[in-house]
Structure formats: C-alpha cells, structure tokens
C-alpha cells in the first residue's frame, strides 16, 4: 500500500513538473489508427502534424502515437498523452470517439479534436472532410472507364462516412453509365494490407475492372497492378507511386491548414468547441492529378464536376434520389441536409446487398 502510494505521488509530481516545463511551449498530440508509413490516411494526418511543426517552429512541440487500436486501449493512449502535458490532442479515427469523450471529461483543461465523429463537449471539437465530394468525381471517372460495368468497392466499417462515399460514387457512376453495378466488400479493418489485397483480388476475379477503396493502405493498388487491366484511385493520399496506371486519380486529405489554425487558436486562447466539415471548396479535400490513362473529355467533365462542387453550384446529393427500397429520399430540386448525411445509414436506389449493422 505504502509503495503504491509513494509511486502515485511520484508520478503525480513528475506529471506536474513536466506540465510546468511545458508551459512556454504549446504541446500538440496526435493519436493515429495506423502506422505513419501507411501511405494513406495516417500518412496524411502526419503530414498535417509536420506542417504544424514547420509553421510554428520552436513555439510548438508535437507528439504522436501510431497504430492505436480502436477500442479500450485507445482511452489509455489518449490519457497518457494528456498526462504528458499535451494542450491539444487530435484523435484521428472514427472509433476513437467514445474514448476521446471519456478522457476529455477527465481533463477539462485539455482541448480535444476528434476526426470524423459527431459528438462534442465544451473541450471537444469534431472535424471531418466532405470526402463524398471526391467520391463523386471518382464515381464519374469509374462509370466512364469500366468496360465490364462492374465496379468493386472495398469498404471498411459500416459507418456513415463510408456509406456516404459508396452512395456518392454510385450515383455519379450510374449517371454516366446506367448499366454500372457495384460489388461491395466490407473488410472490417482500416488497415490490413494482406486482407485489402485479397479483397481487391476477389473483386477483380469476379469481373471488376475498377476498384474503389475506403481502406488506408496501398495494397489494393498493388493487387490491381498485378492484375494488369484494372483502374484504381488513391485513397486519403495521392498514392502517386501507382500513377499513371492503375491509379488514375485520387482523393487527397489536406489537414495541415486546419491543424495550424486550431493550434493557433489554442495559443491565442480563442479555441472553442466547433464542428467543422469542409470539402473541395475550402481545400480540405483535394483531387489528385487525373492521369493520361483517362480520356481527355472524361478528365474535362471530372474537373468541371469538381469546380461545380467547389463553388457550391452543385451538391453531390441532389434530388431526385430514391432510397434502396424505392422510397423517395430527395424530390426534384431538393438537396440533402447535413444532418441526414452525417447519420447516413441507407443505400440509394440501385445498390444491391445490405449494409451490415
């Protein structure tokens, strides 16, 4: 009993001491779901972290922990980071939502930013990007490029963000190619190169000649390249090492401006709990170079679509749109509201299969 008591107070003293030292520097922490070298999602978040370091120089210290599993262990990792004296912590995966809230309640003076979630507290903000705008461009190119009319989609977890992506890609593929069919595999992982490669191979073997992915590694790109005649898109990161073919374009997440702005807000004492959801317009979602493997007129159409979404003249979820069961979702001229999009749990008309629970 005595020993543990001693150790606890020692740890506390140590924590206080390091907190005192850290006063002059703003400490920004990042919790990653995958390794920083995944070439996709986590890689881009880490680029954002490096941009914060480059921008503020010695005024800011950043720390990160990679490959933190979604679930109970995440709470430990976030707590540890808060104990280390972080002033601002970015938790960069949907599955960190509850752990982030739990830790935030224990550390009211630390600011938290949770990516892609929907729950906030006075010291917890959420931020996400309108990836579905990028998916619309992908869907358009996919619909034009497929010869077998089968598009394979490697989905990760059945959460609104992923479902939005599937719907957006399908709507825009269908628009330019009424015969297109989507085959969807739920990988139940964000990062498992072997499984992602297997999923891509299974889709290719069943006739898909375009593969869209919502998992984080470049493994599906490698599988497509091995197969030869299959088109892919970079996910979260440009994945340009697979350009110009199989990777013909990409969705690029650009977190750096947001991370810099939020760090600045903490330094100025102006940080408030907010819900940010930015798309192509403000630059949070980028479309990677459309390669020459795409016919010039398709590229032009895709860029026009991108421009229309950037200036707000076109919304990817514009009526008339029906749900999968045929019921009317959006009437002619109507546009989806953010509330419905944030909680999206249904397929649009034409998609087959069921969304897992």
């Amino acid at each position: 009993m005595k020993l543990t008591h001693l150790l606890t107070s020692a740890a506390l003293a140590l924590g206080l001491a390091s907190a005192a030292v850290a006063q002059d520097k703003t400490k920004v922490g990042f919790i990653y779901v995958g390794p920083i070298g995944d070439g996709g999602w986590t890689y881009e978040h880490d680029k954002g972290r490096l941009a914060v370091e480059a921008h503020f120089g010695d005024a800011v210290e950043t720390v990160y922990q990679e490959s933190v599993p979604e679930g109970a262990d995440a709470e430990r990792a976030i707590t540890q980071m808060a104990l280390q004296g972080a002033d601002l912590i970015f938790t960069t995966s949907f599955g960190f939502m509850e752990p982030t809230l739990a830790v935030a309640e224990k550390f009211p003076d630390v600011k938290f930013e949770h990516a892609t979630g929907y729950k906030t507290l006075p010291n917890v903000s959420t931020y996400s990007a309108r990836f579905y705008e990028g998916r619309a461009v992908q869907g358009h190119i996919a619909g034009k490029m497929t010869k077998s009319n089968i598009v394979g989609y490697i989905a990760s977890y059945p959460i609104p963000e992923v479902i939005r992506g599937i719907n957006s890609a399908y709507i825009h593929a269908k628009k330019v190619n009424p015969d297109v069919e989507f085959k969807i595999i739920w990988a139940y992982t964000w990062f498992d190169p072997a499984k992602e490669a297997d999923a891509a191979t299974a889709l290719i073997e069943q006739g898909a000649d375009v593969i869209l992915q919502h998992t984080d590694s470049t493994a599906p790109q490698a599988a497509a390249e091995k197969a030869g005649n299959v088109v892919t898109f970079g996910q979260a990161s440009d994945m340009s090492e697979y350009a110009p073919f199989p990777r013909v374009s990409s969705i690029i997440d650009n977190w750096a401006p947001y991370y810099i702005a939020r760090t600045q807000a903490v330094m100025d004492g102006t940080w408030e709990s907010t819900q940010t959801w930015d798309g192509i317009g403000p630059g949070m979602v980028g479309i990677g170079e459309i390669s020459d493997a795409v016919p010039a007129e398709v590229k032009e159409e895709a860029l026009a679509l991108k421009a229309a979404m950037a200036d707000g003249s076109y919304h990817p979820f514009s009526g008339p749109l029906n749900k999968q069961d045929g019921s009317v979702w959006l009437a002619e001229g109507a546009v989806a509201d953010d509330g419905t999009l944030l909680g999206m749990d249904f397929y649009v008309e034409g998609l087959t299969g069921e969304i897992p629970n």
């Binding site: 299974a202 069943q206 590694s217 490698a222 069921e354 897992p356």
Partner: protein, 307 residues
C-alpha cells in the same frame, strides 16, 4: 446458385494456396520451437522483419530468391536475440517474446523508410510444359510461385523429421522433459537455440511472402496480426505439422471465400462472414484435438544445467 456462379472455384482454390502460405510458414517454424519446449511470442516481430529484409534485398539485387534468403536470415537474427535472452540470460520467455514483437515492428519501420511505394521484382511461377496447362488442376496445383511448393515440402519435412528420425526424437525429448534429456547427455540449450533459429527463419520467410508475393509491396505494419494467428494455429493444431497445414488452409481458404461471397452478394450477414475464418478454423481443430494430444511438457519452462 445464381450468385455463386460468379465465383470461379479454380481461381478461389488458387487464391487459397497464396493466402495460407504466410501463416503456414510462420506456424511451422513456431511448431518446431514449441516442440523443443520454447514459447516464442515474437512471431509477429520476426515476420515483419523478414518482410522488410526480404523486400529490401529483392529490390536491391533484383532477385526474389536472394530476398527470401535475406528474409530467413533476418528472421533468424532477430530470433537469435530471443535465444540469447532466454537460453543464456534465462529471461522470461513470454516477456522476451512480446518484447521481440515490439522491437521487430519498430526495427522494420526504420529499415523500411526508403522502400514505401517501390515495386518488388516478380517471383517466378512454376511453369511445367504440360502440367501447368492442364484444365483445373493446372491452375490450382501447378502454376504457383515456388514458395508455395517450398512451404508444402517443409511441412512434409518437419512432419517426417519429428516422427521418424532420431533428431526429431531428441528435439521432442528436450521439449517434453529437459532435465531427462540433459541427464542423457543431450545439449538442451544448443538444440533449443537451433530450433529458435529455425523458427525465426520460417517466420521471416512467411513475412517476405507477404511483401514479395501476396501484397506485393512494403507497408509499415503490413503483417497486421498474421504472426498472432500463426501462434494460435500451433496451439489449435495440437503441435502437429499436418494439422497446421489443415488449419492454415482452412483459415486462408475461408478468409478468401468470405470475401468472394461478399463480392458475389450472398445473403448472409457480413458480420458472420467476417468472423467465419476464425470460427471455422478453431471449431475444426478443436474437434480434431479431442484425442490425447497436449502441449510439450517443458513448454515455456526455463532450463539451466545446474538445476
């Protein structure tokens, strides 16, 4: 049946062989280690180290064969660290093994810094003039890369060695009762070190199969749990080489099959399909292990000649 017609059974069986090879190699190595009475939980770390060593060497030399040899060497070097800790320093095997996994993951991402986004040289496939062209069997049996056949040959070799040879008998004796083996004059520590090195080399090969053939690319943390599955497989296969092969095929096969069933739109909830590889493999192997098979008696116990 309409749905299933979009799945080509020939391609499925061919994918099965590829999907099961990494865990088969790693589990086979660990089987020998555990039969010698050592529990090495560092399989994941040795696999990923093998994955990057093999990848780096294959890229630099342009030869996948050199890559695989380097992968085996890399895995064995990491295993040597474990051997030094547990056989000479008499450290706890569980703790040392876990440390080895963490060390291997860190080391591999350090070694792999310059190798992201690079394509490895293609590994040669078996190409027999007549056999590979046979319908069905040609594609399923005779047109894989050579590592698939190497892994199968290794299963047969380990099985025969353990069952029929004197060397296998000594290895098992060391694993069952190290004091008795020592009293008979066998070099317990030396035999165990050799087994640990073999285990490391096999894990390294399994990792390199991922980075050179199955995925094929280098990505940090790319084994993502395959080493742990290999470890579990050894236990569920009751430390028998034949059952390790069966387990690896089941796991690899059901993993690939469930992805294919999803793509084909089978009306089984995805949650069940997703857990099916684990469930089916465990179920089959547990039912089979209803006989008297059990763990090697000295498994995980520290040996020192003075005790």
């Amino acid at each position: 049946m309409m749905i299933l017609s979009s799945i080509d059974p020939v391609l499925l069986l061919a994918s099965l062989m590829v999907a099961s090879t990494p865990i088969l190699l790693a589990a086979l190595g660990e089987l020998v280690v555990e039969r010698a009475g050592v529990l090495n939980l560092g399989v994941e770390g040795m696999m990923i180290t093998g994955a990057i060593c093999g990848f780096a060497m294959a890229v630099n030399t342009g030869s996948p064969l050199v890559g695989f040899i380097a992968a085996a060497a890399g895995g064995a070097v990491l295993a040597l660290l474990f051997a030094l800790l547990t056989q000479f320093a008499l450290a706890n095997q569980v703790a040392s093994g876990l440390a080895l996994t963490l060390f291997g993951l860190g080391l591999s991402s350090l070694l792999g810094q310059g190798y992201v986004g690079i394509k490895p040289p293609p590994t040669a496939r078996l190409d027999l003039p007549i056999l590979s062209d046979l319908p069905l069997v040609g594609r399923v049996l005779f047109s894989h890369d050579l590592m698939v056949y190497f892994a199968l040959a290794l299963v047969a070799l380990v099985w025969a060695l353990l069952k029929y040879t004197r060397a296998g008998l000594i290895l098992r004796a060391v694993g069952e009762n190290h004091e008795a083996a020592h009293a008979l004059g066998y070099k317990v520590v030396r035999i165990r070190i050799l087994a640990i090195l073999f285990g490391g080399a096999c894990a390294g090969l399994g990792g390199a199969y991922l980075s050179l053939v199955r995925v094929p690319q280098w990505t940090e943390g790319m084994t993502s749990g395959a080493g742990w599955i290999a470890l579990a497989l050894v236990v569920f296969a009751s430390w028998k080489a034949g059952r390790v092969l069966l387990g690896a095929w089941l796991f690899g096969g059901v993993s690939v099959l469930q992805l294919n069933l999803q793509a084909a739109g089978l009306a089984i909830p995805v949650e069940y399909l997703s857990m099916s590889p684990y469930l089916i493999t465990i179920l089959v192997l547990v039912i089979m292990s209803a006989d008297k098979s059990r763990a090697p008696a000295s498994l995980g116990r520290i040996f020192h000649a003075s005790q």
